[in-house]
């Protein structure tokens, strides 16, 4: 293999070499354990980098420095956070339901780690190549809601319960546009397997890739997916369930010490995995953006795209104000659901109109017209005029 290909497959080669040191009957188990250990090591490391990136990025956007005491430029802040959360006293309220209170963060972290099993990180680098891989991911994501309810109810705290109810209502509402907007990619590929979806996007015309985001239905689907993903992971601007100024800390008010760290870990890992799936479905997975950049390894492209997605999420958190609960719900059911259904119809029309420039024009015009009509119709009662500033005299 040439040097480029060997760099591309370096982790696979390493895995096979280590498994080769064991007897034959033990090798499949060793290969699976190695892949699991790699996932358990890599993604929490990315989580640690994400926390420091977020705090510095948010600080800069709010015209202040972020953490800058621990290590040069505050890079070692996650280490300090980890030590703090390990040594803090674990306070469980007296009337709390002990077993459920203990199990809620475990269920969350387990469900989130299971979702990484079908993420194709590079060429040939997926832990389990399931035929219904995407379906598996969304099914596991639905189990997260149960853990949030467990956390909120077992604390016997009205703020926790209220936060849990809001979080569950939000997650259930946004699950429908999330699934519908990802179904377009499945429709055009013809398979639910994540590796096949990435492979279907790996061709190039000239120097431009065949990513689904560069088609009208793919672009609309990608935007809908990103908005629904932000709402699914309770991420700003949809973070009313855990808004610090509204509900203390929502469903994890009564958690302290390491359990709080587990909730934090679960939430950020959920954000990473759903960003990874957005990349897989619409942004070409591990494929290069231009055909002449194919010498960079596939897993490096995946992590670069993941890094871009995380930076985008942090940017949104620092910029947009929080949505109110009824605004959230209206947006999900009245705007995103019709747009997602229309996107399905447009994707079907794309498939059956055949090749050519007509289908680009027709699909784009239909989507843009629907967006403007739906948006204007929903906003006709809002009195939005030009912005006016009032300064102190």
């Amino acid at each position: 293999m040439s040097f480029i290909q060997s760099m591309d497959q370096i982790f696979i080669t390493l895995q096979h070499w280590i498994a080769g040191l064991f007897p034959l009957w033990l090798q499949p188990a060793v290969m699976a354990i190695l892949a699991v250990v790699a996932i358990l090591g890599a993604f929490p490391a990315i989580f640690a980098v994400t926390t420091v990136l977020e705090r510095k990025g948010l600080g800069r956007m709010q015209n202040r420095l972020g953490p800058n005491r621990v290590g040069p430029l505050g890079i070692l802040q996650p280490v300090a956070d980890g030590i703090k959360s390990l040594t803090k006293e674990d306070i469980v309220p007296f009337t709390a339901d002990g077993l459920v209170h203990f199990l809620a963060p475990l269920v969350l972290v387990t469900a989130v780690f299971l979702g990484f099993a079908v993420l194709p990180i590079g060429r040939n680098m997926v832990l389990v190549n399931m035929d219904a891989g995407l379906f598996f991911f969304f099914a596991i994501g639905a189990s997260v809601e149960l853990s949030i309810f467990m956390a909120g109810w077992s604390s016997r705290n009205k703020y926790s319960l209220l936060g849990a109810m809001r979080a569950i209502a939000q997650m259930i509402s946004y699950e429908v546009p999330l699934l519908l907007s990802s179904v377009v990619a499945v429709m055009i590929t013809g398979s639910l397997s994540t590796t096949k979806i990435v492979e279907a996007q790996s061709g190039f015309t000239g120097i431009f890739p065949h990513w689904y985001v560069f088609t009208p239905w793919g672009f609309a689907g990608f935007i809908l997916f990103v908005i629904a993903a932000l709402a699914e992971t309770n991420r700003s601007p949809f973070d009313l369930p855990e808004g610090e100024s509204e509900l203390v800390a929502g469903y994890f008010t009564e958690y302290s010490g390491f359990k709080f760290a587990l909730f934090f870990l679960g939430e950020y890992l959920g954000m990473l995995s759903i960003a990874g799936f957005g990349i897989t479905l619409f942004l070409g997975g591990w494929g290069a953006p231009f055909s002449f950049l194919g010498f960079i390894p596939s897993w490096l492209w995946f992590f670069l795209k993941l890094f871009a997605a995380i930076s985008f999420f942090i940017w949104l958190r620092g910029t947009l104000p929080r949505l109110r609960q009824d605004q959230l719900m209206n947006f999900a059911w009245k705007f995103m659901l019709p747009m997602a259904l229309l996107n399905l119809v447009v994707a079907g029309a794309w498939r059956f109109l055949g090749e050519g420039w007509q289908r680009w024009i027709i699909c784009s015009v239909v989507l843009l017209a629907a967006y403007f009509l739906l948006g204007r119709t929903l906003m006709r009662h809002q009195k939005l005029g030009p912005r006016s500033y009032r300064y102190a005299e």
Binding site: F135, F136, A142, F149, G190
Partner: protein, 178 residues
């Protein structure tokens, strides 16, 4: 008769049965719902062992992700949170035991009667693709009827939850739209 009961099947069915027993016998209603979720997860694992990927994942997505949450909401909105129920033993427990045993015997007889005489050959592939093409060709009428049913349910939910028009409705609306 029954071929190849592996250790995985035994563990999965033990989890399922334990969850179902706990869901019926526990005092705290929310604990019962959580054990019911364990039972539903055990059922999904059984489907997955039989290589029915679509059925297994649909079970997790629909039952654990939606039905369990629905049951939880129903309990919370009607009974409030965190009051353990006192369980009384029913006075007609003998009759209920007889009826339950009769139903169990009927179901067991029906299941055992359906075992093939010889071991089955290669399992028919129930891939997602074959389910999809069957839904679009042979079963398209049930698909459309389910779609109409879902639309009716959605419209019904909106009508039930809609605030009433009129003076009383308007004051409720103004108070609630904060």
């Amino acid at each position: 008769m029954i071929h190849g009961i592996g250790i995985v099947f035994l563990i999965t069915s033990a989890i399922t049965v334990a969850g179902a027993l706990a869901a019926a016998l526990l005092k705290n209603l929310i604990h019962c719902v959580l054990c019911l979720s364990i039972t539903l997860a055990g059922l999904a694992l059984l489907y997955l062992q039989l290589d029915a990927q679509f059925a297994g994942f649909a079970q997790i997505l629909v039952y654990i992700g939606a039905v369990a949450i629905l049951v939880v909401f129903a309990i919370l909105l009607t009974r409030g949170a965190g009051i353990p129920e006192y369980r009384n033993v029913s006075s007609s427990w003998l009759v209920s035991l007889v009826i339950a045993a009769a139903i169990f015997a009927l179901l067991t007889w029906a299941v055992i009667r359906s075992f093939p005489a010889t071991a089955a050959g290669a399992a028919p592939g129930a891939t997602v693709q074959s389910i999809g093409s069957a839904l679009m060709s042979t079963y398209v009428l049930p698909l459309e009827i389910v779609a109409v049913l879902l639309t009716v349910a959605l419209i019904g939910a909106v009508i039930v939850a809609m605030p009433e028009s009129g003076a009383a409705g308007k004051s409720i609306e103004k108070g609630g739209a904060q």
